[in-house]
Symmetry: none
Subunit: 417 residues, 2 copies
């Protein structure tokens, strides 16, 4: 979908000093996309007439609709109206209609109007004022060289209300049949971004279905986007084709999390779980318990740093620890089976490894992680070598453990009579 | 402080569809302002060559330094290098140095390189590649009509590291010294924002010291800002005055975390710790283990959902559980003392409560949380009623527990001969 001829210009020093990020652009873009429009670009400049003028001049030559926010207040650093007047070569005049609006705002609230508020009625000569239900600053609308400009206050609540009331209807009327942008997200695990890219069946995808990628480490997010009359239909086709290739790696969709889905799967499969974490320090447990209802499948979890802890809670033989060390295949296996023996849960999963930054050795470098899963069908264990800093290694280990649980639960559900 | 001739251009469809707000601009602007620089403008455009070209053309005529983020990935929707080449009228060529960087990234990690990764070495002919320690995409630097352009990946962690390493030094060298904006952050716990506001000694603060507030639930952040020659001196004064009023609630400063500081305190005080969590589901343990060296004080931790788990690991009498329930003062007390008895750690802390959304009752509504701390000096227990959703109740409970540990460790250190 081509971006429509709409741009946003936000003004305010705080946007360029790192104090806050520009939420007004996100708000406007979000509302627009639900109506099928997309911004062509967004610009932010400080509260300086010169900068606002330069930005307006650029945008007027570049797009058809410009939405400006900020700089309509009563104080000295509110310079948008002046900048607009200068850009369009119009004098600043007291706009009687706007002045009425400002007066009315105060009288209707039995409040005395400050002289400085009159400044808010100083608009470019041909401006059409836009009412502001929630504040003193009226917005205004201007036309220039076939371009239409809307000026709104920067206060998010005021801006949003006025945008919906005074701007959106104009766009809907003037921009021919926009179809909302439909979008589906697929969160994949176990493949690199380039690998996923190569597996996407671009050739077979229906045309006008856009594919976009992003990373939520360690997940690769694939987005399918389409708009137009039969968007839903084309997305259904695209989704089917995509999942034929990649469905095996799908851990979650829009609004879902891997841990949330794994929790549901365990409940559906009627499996109880106990966990023993070492290098992940409880991350896996916290992920699983961050959603309600975890107690339905999670019986208990342990973070066993000390060997004594592995010995009494997980029944790992001290001799084994001495012989192979806590970060070893044997220890992982003993942790999982020992835990399952104590708890009697259907599944017991153990993680032991070296998250770093210290503790790595020649044969067991930082990132060495052992996973083990004990179930009625036996005890599985595997060694991994994960890359990155402590945080990444912990996240990767926890997500890999979720993947083990996901696959086990799915198998159970399939094997059901 | 006048804006300097620096602009940021961020690329990505998601920036203009309302999916996310532009954090890279905020990050760059924030770093710049700590060095006394301010952005002149920032621009965002979709992943479309035409739009990126238009934006670059505008900025090249408008500012002296341009920082571009995004669109350097290996996939089809990464089009920044191509757009840069077209804007500057340079052919796209395989940059040998960049290719080495990409190759090296994979070989140093024993990973096979995808063909698509070669695309990441396709740069404008006269580009100087910039190394990327944290990802496969090299950045690059270009010069055009007295304007200097830096191209960085969009992944925030990669972008930030490369900006500090390859861009900031250039700006510092080329832009005449500015007075950096000095800033100090104080993370407070146990007071509401308005309460903190009332306790700030505004009258006595040296002039030109700005006070700003923000929330990092459940912490209230107070920022002191100053610039100019004697900024450090004025901030020292302001800090002393602020902490005279609020120091007792200070859990962390800039770049610190409450959990990190509590960990250090426990080590300094030579205290070992064991944890038993219920409603927080391991959050406290995960916070404490998210930093290296946690094993120096944390002996073990348990998340005991099932009563049987509380019984065998924490030695909570089944009778007590039946009589008072798992969410009770008696249970909390029994969990902490039972755990300390098993582990022999100096401190054992237990959390039991109802994080919701379900499970609340008349006399024990959602948000009811019991904390208990067992030490050589006895077992303390307290009931809280926290407000908010599951996530907030969990965070509040974990942070309150950290506060207990902080105060205990501080006392120990003070009572030392």
């Amino acid at each position: 979908m081509p971006p429509y001829d709409i741009a946003v210009l936000t003004t305010g020093d705080e946007l360029l000093s790192g104090e806050i990020s520009d939420s007004n652009t996100k708000t406007i873009a979000g509302i627009l996309s639900t109506y099928g429009y997309r911004l062509r670009c967004s610009l932010s400049v400080p509260d300086q007439e010169k900068e606002i003028v330069a930005a307006l001049q650029y945008l007027i030559g570049h797009v058809q609709f410009i939405i400006v926010t900020g700089g309509l207040g009563p104080t000295g650093d509110d310079r948008t109206a002046r900048a607009a007047a200068r850009t369009l070569g119009q004098p600043l005049v007291i706009n009687e209609e706007a002045l009425k609006m400002v007066h009315q705002w105060f009288t209707s609230r039995n409040r005395r109007m400050e002289a400085s508020n009159e400044k808010q009625a100083l608009l470019p000569q041909w401006a059409q004022p836009l009412p502001n239900q929630n504040g003193t600053a009226p917005g205004f609308r201007l036309w220039h060289n076939g371009c239409e400009l809307f000026f709104l206050p920067g206060v998010p609540s005021e801006m949003q209300a006025m945008f919906k009331r005074s701007v959106l209807p104009v766009l809907q009327q003037k921009i021919p049949e926009a179809y909302p942008l439909q979008q589906r997200t697929f969160k994949l695990f176990g493949l690199s971004e380039p690998k996923v890219d190569r597996m996407v069946p671009y050739q077979q995808l229906p045309k006008d279905v856009e594919v976009a990628f992003s990373l939520e480490y360690p997940l690769v997010l694939v987005k399918l986007k389409a708009s137009g009359e039969d968007a839903e239909f084309r997305l259904d086709q695209a989704e089917a084709l995509l999942l034929k290739e990649l469905g095996d790696h799908l851990m979650a969709r829009d609004g879902e999390t891997p841990e949330g889905n794994v929790g549901k799967l365990l409940v559906d499969a009627g499996l109880t779980l106990s966990l023993a974490e070492s290098c992940t320090g409880g991350l896996l447990t916290t992920m699983l318990t961050s959603q309600p209802g975890a107690s339905a499948f999670l019986e208990r979890a342990a973070v066993t740093y000390a060997d004594t802890a592995k010995a009494d809670w997980l029944k790992v033989p001290t001799l084994l620890l001495r012989q192979y060390g806590a970060v070893s295949e044997n220890c992982a296996r003993a942790m999982a089976s020992g835990l399952r023996h104590t708890t009697g849960t259907d599944l017991s999963l153990a993680i032991t490894g070296i998250a770093g930054p210290d503790g790595g050795t020649e044969e067991k470098p930082v990132g060495t992680v052992f996973l083990s899963l004990a179930s009625a069908t036996g005890v599985h264990v595997k060694r991994y070598t994960f890359l990155g800093d402590r945080n990444r290694i912990q996240r990767m280990s926890a997500t890999m453990a979720l993947e083990w649980l996901r696959r086990f639960a799915l198998q159970q559900l399939e094997n059901r009579p």
